[in-house]
Point group: C2
Chain length 507, copies 2
Amino acid sequence: MKKEIAERLRDNSLLDRIVTAEEAASWIQDGMTLGLSGFTRAGDAKAVPMALVDRSKNESFKVNVFTGASLGFDIDKKMAEAGIVNKRLPFQADPTMRKKINVGEINFIDQHLSHVAEWVRGDVHNPIDYAIVEATAITEDGYIIPTTSVGNSSIFVDKAKAVIVELNLSQPAGLENMHDIYELGKQGERQPVPLTSVDQRIGEIGIRLDKDKLKGIVITNFPDSPSTIVPPDEETAIMANHLINFLREEIKAGRLTNKLAPLQSGVGSVANAVLHGLLESEFEDLEVYSEVLQDAVFDLIDSGKVRFASGCSMTLSKEKMDHVYPNIEKYKDKIVLRPQEISNLPEVIRRLGLISINTALEVDIYGNVNSTHVSGTKMMNGIGGSGDFARNCRTAIFVTKSLAKDGKISSIVPFASHIDHTEHDVDIIVTEQGYADLRGLAPRERARVIIENCAHPLYKEQLTDYFEEALMRGGQTPHVLEKALSWHTNYASTGTMLQKEKETVTI
Amino acid sequence: MKKEIAERLRDNSLLDRIVTAEEAASWIQDGMTLGLSGFTRAGDAKAVPMALVDRSKNESFKVNVFTGASLGFDIDKKMAEAGIVNKRLPFQADPTMRKKINVGEINFIDQHLSHVAEWVRGDVHNPIDYAIVEATAITEDGYIIPTTSVGNSSIFVDKAKAVIVELNLSQPAGLENMHDIYELGKQGERQPVPLTSVDQRIGEIGIRLDKDKLKGIVITNFPDSPSTIVPPDEETAIMANHLINFLREEIKAGRLTNKLAPLQSGVGSVANAVLHGLLESEFEDLEVYSEVLQDAVFDLIDSGKVRFASGCSMTLSKEKMDHVYPNIEKYKDKIVLRPQEISNLPEVIRRLGLISINTALEVDIYGNVNSTHVSGTKMMNGIGGSGDFARNCRTAIFVTKSLAKDGKISSIVPFASHIDHTEHDVDIIVTEQGYADLRGLAPRERARVIIENCAHPLYKEQLTDYFEEALMRGGQTPHVLEKALSWHTNYASTGTMLQKEKETVTI
């Protein structure tokens, strides 16, 4: 153990900063703002948040919790149960925390993932009292080496009044040299971000540490929570095929080559499954420039389909961890992990011309996308990076199954009950029914192709009826306003979006 | 006249390309796509489109019309009346064309202004058959010098199969050397855009011309249509004061200095009036990085408040034209005109950290903004550049009067009937009632401050009633879905958004 620590804590002058998680947690005071490492279950600070939860059994306090994205290790769940979270941002994915958010007990700020660092740097968000970040190592020359994610750790450490490092011995030592940490500097004073290819390194191997701010080092030994991703199914395989067909058409039209363009794929099972489908494609020498690197990316690397992947976290299933971590050296020249501000930076996304694939919760007939709110009101997880990518990429693709809840919900609706991505940012919709290419189409044209290509047959007629009634009213984006949200209110009152008479017919 | 032409058409080998507008218009065939110069009434191609309209009296055809933004000179009106437009993008502001769009006779693509060039370059939009661009001069070394706007002219000329230049003798010769034309190159192959300050020149003084593609030169002599801007009134002066108060608070908080940050202001009377209010402020050495430079910018330059302004067009009232054009030399080291892809580029907007001021049509209680659609269905003008700026700037400010139609419409509504800017992109709302600083607030908190600070007293109670009923239902973004759009349907059926009983009380 001592030897292991010495290998990872390579600045002897810092040995006396080692404390227990309990002691570190005891420094945190009511009303403080914490900047935690962690991005979709990867590389989260684990011991200190847990000790803080424990402390709350005997003491009443609340803190603001800022992270990269969602946390693993049930940290969000336990913090929510303990009632110690006042403000939470910018993303979470825990059912218990979700409930607390939806009853208004936690103030959840649903922010574009690339914007958080900008607001922390610019002193718009609350000042960070403690940055608590997981590390693979602290180097002899004073760099914190992150673990399986970078997230917002570098800006949290930079701006925090004090820093606590969780040195996690269970994270592969080989993660060192996989990160590329670049600090943009203040708006108005910064230079262009020099990144022009997915495999380029523009920064440093770790987060520069101001030793005076380092208040404590906690030694931990907990692995990341594995991802809970659902494996590809028949429908996601069909969706992947539709996507591949779209990409083939792009090649035919001369807009892409067989190497495509750097791919971004959102977090979640559907996006992962769709990406997985590329394994069976003829495309080659692919590149990934994404935020989360999920199982599918590693399968694509292993198969030789993907030549390089840039991300800001590796979020893997247990099985994939067992495969990747012992072989981490093999991936070192194929993967780089960057701060989420860089993985999601509009400047880079547009320069590289990404193909973006993100998941929609619902889509309206004009192509406005709801990514976050069930029935327009209840938060699911958050917008994440989907806005960073969809707005700035080459082609913004949204994927969703056309039905939910055994057909009681149509993912294609007349009017989205909440909008995260406006029609201006939505190019392609893919469902298991087909794909709609909306580029260069006016709203009325968009509606026809979405209903025709993407809606489930169960709802096609009902959608067409709405659209035709709306057309009688006219407008650039025709609607029957008094019926626009009736599908959602019907679902709330009758348990299905299917209209009564239709239901009888189909039964 | 001959001398004047020689001074402006400085490549003698091109003299034989001079043709009449009628001849140039005769080359255009049914189904073609035209890329016209012109951005908010400035620098539009005038003679050839007019000749095309004339041709339609004897002949039936339709073309796709791509521009920078809206046109002056009643071109959109006359093209719409003539029925010769199939597809129109990305922005227009003409009442007659608007009608044709809203009945579905013209397919209008409402696109982010910075995205158009990307889609033309990437062959996503229809190929440009003819670029028809107004010029101040064609230089001896083959550059087309634009006039009062750049818009999308450079990419249209670059990608078009053939080019027609309207050499406009009425545009000040002194416009030469005011432009900075930069071509980004293909996505995936381009370098960072090197712009790091508003006054920096990164490109060339004109649009590089492939002489082989130059099919005709039409000599014209028509001035731009003056802007129809409404002068500041009492309410816009109050709004300007609220904005100034917000900026003062930013300085107090240490987030801005007295020089502020580069300002962007959307097209239109309210944004112009609000900018005008800065004349009376204590801020100094201001910079403008915007798309349209309207009257207020020139007043601010004249008063010494603004030290430099970068735009993609100058859209001036008649009075201001008469002042600026004879003195154009005076403005030469204070103004640069760029392609709209550069004036609106996310990369530059975020790097410089702009303060963006754009106009909202309606705002919901959670801060979602409708910029385009009256009652959710009828197109007004288009999103323009507001999305480019709001998403990527330092602080996204939206301004609107709290009432419209003599109080029959509240600009603050429970649920926006159309969304162009989601809550993720809306930081500050300013009405004549006050301003709401929404940064770092959860939706429930946003609602309280918007209703309290921005809504008109006439609608405050009604909004509060809705919000309180919605809170009973719960959610991150509470709504009463069956009543969410009732304000709009009430307005349609009763002529006012005021609820009946309230109306009685207030009368």
